[in-house]
Symmetry: C2
Subunit: 316 residues, 2 copies
């Protein structure tokens, strides 16, 4: 029996991938049934499923739905979103597996284990009474596991080291206001929502003890791509002496990307910001490694100098 707080956004059952539709949460808990790789690709590009690790696992299950043209399906799934490196990584993991579905299920289960491990490591940095701030959603919905930044918050809460979470609403798609609030409510963790531009004031008033966020791609030098709005948080945290943590599995680290400048940043449709008006909708931003206090991974807590720490973690 699952724990009452467990949230599982992806289920593979009876020859189909069931995707919990994150576009309509928390108003409705609705499932999209995918029987083809193209249907999974649609779920990823439309953000019915989102979060770097979760879209990787969805794509792996998507390949399990491919017929003879497995390479064509892989190409289709790879092209859905450009920034998260977990997507291509997961596809590579399953593409040549003798049993694609079995390998996809294995990745899914490994994600749970990695999340749990990095969450425990991250939570050990917290102290009783801490008020943590997070951006977007990097919980179970985003990883199809225990959560990265969200997992750190859950573990810190379970260990009695967390008083409250400040949740950035995260415009334009409101992953904080819709998804992180939903997860924290189910986990019984106290939180308050704020607009994305309020974090600086809370830090200036000493109301934030730590910032913890997820990541969509970490370059070899430790630069971090994550949901737009992460970079300003890191700049403000540095100014106010607030530790700024990134929580991500090693599958988010891209040794082939030397620095943040080389990370492709997805530009999504302007209508997500406001319908009918000219807008620029950059979905991610890049936080330079110099602003990151530590990166929590399942292989340990990485700290500066990141180039060496990352290379060592990947070699392990």
């Amino acid at each position: 029996m699952p724990e009452p707080t467990s949230i599982e956004p992806l289920r593979f059952e009876e020859g189909a991938l069931l995707v919990l539709d994150q576009r309509v949460l928390p108003a409705a808990e609705s499932w999209v049934r995918c029987e083809t790789p193209a249907e999974v690709a649609d779920c990823i590009s439309s953000m019915a499923v989102r979060g770097a690790p979760a879209i990787g696992i969805a794509a792996a299950y998507g390949l399990a739905l491919a017929g003879e043209d497995r390479d064509g399906a892989a190409e289709l799934l790879r092209a859905t979103r450009p920034t998260a490196v977990n997507l291509g990584w997961a596809i590579d993991q399953v593409l040549d597996a003798p049993d694609v579905l079995a390998r996809a299920r294995e990745l899914h289960s490994e994600q749970h284990a990695a999340d749990r491990r990095l969450a425990e490591l991250g939570a050990s940095r917290f102290e009783a009474g801490d008020r943590a701030l997070t951006h977007c959603n990097a919980g179970a919905l985003a990883t199809a596991g225990y959560g990265t930044a969200g997992g750190v918050l859950r573990a810190a809460w379970e260990q009695g080291r967390l008083q409250q979470v400040w949740v950035d609403e995260t415009r334009p798609l409101l992953q904080g206001a819709r998804l992180t609030s939903y997860e924290l409510t189910r986990a019984g963790i106290p939180y308050r929502l704020i607009t994305d531009s309020s974090a600086g004031t809370l830090m200036a008033r000493g109301m934030v003890d730590r910032v913890v966020v997820g990541a969509d791609r970490i370059a070899a030098n430790g630069d971090v791509a994550n949901k737009v709005g992460t970079y300003p948080l890191a700049v403000l945290a540095a100014r106010h002496g607030v530790p700024f943590y990134v929580a991500a599995p090693l599958s988010t680290v891209d040794a082939g990307t030397p620095s943040g400048d080389a990370i492709p940043i997805e530009e999504r449709d302007a209508s997500e910001v406001v319908p009918g008006l000219p807008a620029l909708n950059l979905a991610f931003d890049v936080t330079p490694a110099e602003l990151v206090t530590a990166i929590f991974t399942e292989a340990g807590v990485l700290e500066a100098p990141y180039e060496e720490a990352i290379a060592a973690a990947l070699d392990r």
Copy 2:
């Protein structure tokens, strides 16, 4: 005949104050007719009229609607919103005037002149091809004049020194997406909307040449209270070497407030952020003077050291 681009959010006609309802712009151009100070007070606290100079002028007209209890009406109007100092300033200007309505009309007309003057001074700092970023709305709607930050943008555009405006949507009430976009469209100035947390990335990419914002209160030391989200912009601008300008009439300067710490910051209802969930909704933030490149006023461009520059401007 008014210029085609002129926007006048307050009209006193036939014994009533007509307030252009900024809560429903740009979807509807609807006017609220106020025949009593209490109705004007409602328009101010509900933000049917907003913007530091505009609420001052609205309150001045509101006093012209008072019967015998002018002091009671002044108290009611003063209590509507705590942060903008122009509110109390305008009330003080008209309270003991022999003809309240005439003095209110005079303040209104002086606002036009002050805006126009500070806008010209500010625009002279711009250079051809500049891409300016602004937050919230500090145009004609916010001042009942030519606009402060919005006036600087209009004047820079008229002088051929502005290529494009980046407009922060400005959560939670979307003054940027609703009001600044409306004004810029009417003025024919090219713009693009962004989410409030995108500005850092645009600055990191060299896509912002100047930031210009209005103010709700400027302390004697030059600290600036303005719409929440202004402080992070100033921090990011400093990091990226982008000039950060504040445009405000001298009525926004409060010699009685020594520094930003002493400025009361309005906390508005959580439901403005998201209905039904716990939220903290701070309407303003404080930008320390050290992050402000210059303050454009009708008495000249003020620069550091601000304490002296402000004292000299007020003494003039």
